[in-house]
Amino acid sequence: MPSFQISITPSRREAARFVTRVRRSIQKALAEENKKNGLTQSDIARTIGVHRSVINREIRGYKDITLGRVAELAHAMGRKPVLELPEVLPRPGANTEPRASVKISSTDDTAELRQEPTQQRAA
């Protein structure tokens, strides 16, 4: 069956997915805090000291988010961002060179950015 892929380099694919996951982690945390404590984008904007539209564009993906802003957003939501870069080790049975896959997880009071080894898919 014919299939095709979006033509980008592996490193840019990793970047695209990392940026997407970071933004989704923030969206998820905000949704949880909104449900739990009624926290809004306006509240976050006031805490950080910027206009709400700036926060809105950053969270929706219409504006880049700096690492510093990730921390500010996490702080405003009562959470803590954590970045880990563990060594990538080949998995048993892997038949190609491993590549890095950055994974984000978050809990009620933490947001972790963790790098995990993955197996390169067969070409």
């Binding site: 095709f4 892929q5 979006i6 840019r12 997915r17 969206q27 998820k28």
Partner: protein, 164 residues
Amino acid sequence: MATVVELARQGKLFKLDPMLDSHQQEFRVLYASPRLKKWIDETLPNLGSTWNIELAPAEQLDGFMATYASDEPLMFGQGFKPLNHLGQGVWELKTADLRVFGWFSARDWFIGHAADTTDRIKQHNLYHGYAGEVVRFRTHLDLDEPKFVPGDDPNAVVSNFDYP
């Protein structure tokens, strides 16, 4: 008449490989018409972001596909709507710079026919035109009935749409 998979085997549709990690299961799928495939292959790589953001439109679509194809929720709370119903079972998939137009032949099975930049679509008011092109393509496609999931409920067209 044929299924989506049979149409793909006939070369009338093309499956977009989301390039998930080896430990991930593909839960939602996207097939492209020849027109959309050509656009993804030839036009998309040359597009830049009109928002001047880090991720180019091709990278935005790749990030979207990684989420869409997985079993993760597509939407968190209000205001981050990744898909939108345009009428007659036509949906648009959204990134900051892109809109992909198509329909769901079944839950989690999207068939895309056209795509363009958000900027151009809004500037020239192309939503109605693209929706009409999707309907015409769908009508003439030799796909088993029912050809699309009716209604405007995102939960009817994708599983795990909203974060609980």
